[in-house]
Symmetry: C2
Subunit: 252 residues, 2 copies
């Protein structure tokens, strides 16, 4: 089965055993998802894989075929378990080479810090041949881009700087996606039928229904998303008209 | 490329637009990952997909082939965007049928609450033919299991109750995985070479290296995992011996 490759779809590939063992709560997915949403890109899929060559290569091949952009996080540091650059090179049949510009960046960075640029650190200048570097304003060691894959650090502060400062200005802005959320203090089952009809009558927006359950607070968060604010507002008006007696809270 | 299906490997499939739009920070991955780790299962892969039939079916087919167990979260409520049960039925060529036991559970639940069991709510008793139900002690509407796929609710409180109360007792315990973490206040690049040698000399454990960067706190968290506590302790001793001058913190 093949998925259509839409003009504005992206995927995120999170690489790292620590997420999959539950030792670390990932926050990179949520950050990139929010930024993509803001930029008008639709995140269609996320995969989280271990620091495992076969898994990383398989995910890279799958996702780069299916989506316009792929953002990876993790595995580009100096230690033995940082194998992302090597895997990206293999996935795209490129050699892993010492990148001159990356090398210079590291030389200057460690010179300023009076720290030795040892063999381990030099590994961070090894990137697939003909990759384009992604600036790292926090700790210098760059990310890189090859084909439609953007390879970022896993440390949130560094990943965020790379994304905001160097990637966002290079992405074509998609069509802005508007979004509004309301909280209804009624269980999903009470409003499901009306919501379903509302979705059928308003195909130009996406209506999502998410129950919350923290007794005595039981109810449903409804998220409206679409390319026109008017369409969203109209649907919300209709829903509120239907729910005259329910407690409703408009979220930011 | 095919991955080996090991005896203790599992995958998690998180279903829901709200995670991919960044509106909601997922917490189900981390919960299931921690429990699996505790039980001796290795979470090898996580996928997050939209409420999209093609995507859900493709992920279900891929993951159920590759891993011993697959845990899905989300999309089994009463609203129009809850399509998981339908997709699971399609993925495994089963009919979606009104499950008698699930129907009874819902009848009793809503009778007690004096709430109408309407058509929308009845949808929660529609499960693939011959699926086994998973108990929901929070809000009655059950999850279900078909082949090696366990289908759970998306609301964390409900998902957690299902997992702890009904799934864990049914899982064969894997070989317990021990894990210890230490925080070293030295950048990764300083210890990378030694760590790499330590990993080569200690193939029976897994040594993960994760930088943290919150100036003035800069350093590396090292996670040791393995089937024997002794092997982990020996490796930690060797590392500490190597790092006599560094500040080290033992984590819980």
């Amino acid at each position: 089965m093949k998925l259509k490759k839409d003009f504005n779809t992206v995927a995120i590939l999170i690489i790292g055993n620590e997420i999959l063992s539950g030792k670390t709560q990932d926050s990179n997915l949520n950050f990139i998802a929010k930024r993509c949403n803001h930029l008008g890109y639709l995140v269609k899929e996320v995969r989280v894989v271990r620091d495992d060559e076969k898994q990383i290569i398989m995910a890279l091949k799958d996702l780069s075929k299916l989506y316009i952009h792929v953002f990876t996080t993790g595995g580009i540091g100096p230690t033995h378990d940082d194998i992302t650059a090597e895997c990206v090179a293999k996935a795209f049949n490129r050699k892993l080479v010492l990148n001159k510009k990356a090398h210079e960046l590291l030389i200057n960075h460690y010179k300023n810090l009076k720290i030795e640029l040892n063999e381990s650190r030099l590994k961070m200048a090894m990137v697939p041949a003909n990759a384009k570097l992604i600036k790292n304003s926090v700790s210098s060691a760059p990310g890189f881009k090859i084909k439609n894959v953007w390879v970022l650090a896993g440390v949130p502060k560094i990943m965020q700087a790379m994304f905001l400062e160097d990637i966002e200005p290079k992405l074509n802005k998609g069509k802005k996606i508007f979004s509004k959320s309301i909280k209804i203090f009624k269980p999903e089952g009470d409003i499901a039928k009306f919501l379903s009809e509302l979705q059928i009558d308003n195909k130009n927006i996406d209506i999502g229904s998410y129950p919350f359950y923290n007794p005595p607070n039981i109810g449903t968060t409804i998220i409206f998303r679409g390319y026109e604010n008017n369409n969203i507002n109209n649907a919300i008006k209709l829903l509120c008209k239907h729910l005259t007696k329910a407690k409703i809270q408009f979220l930011k």
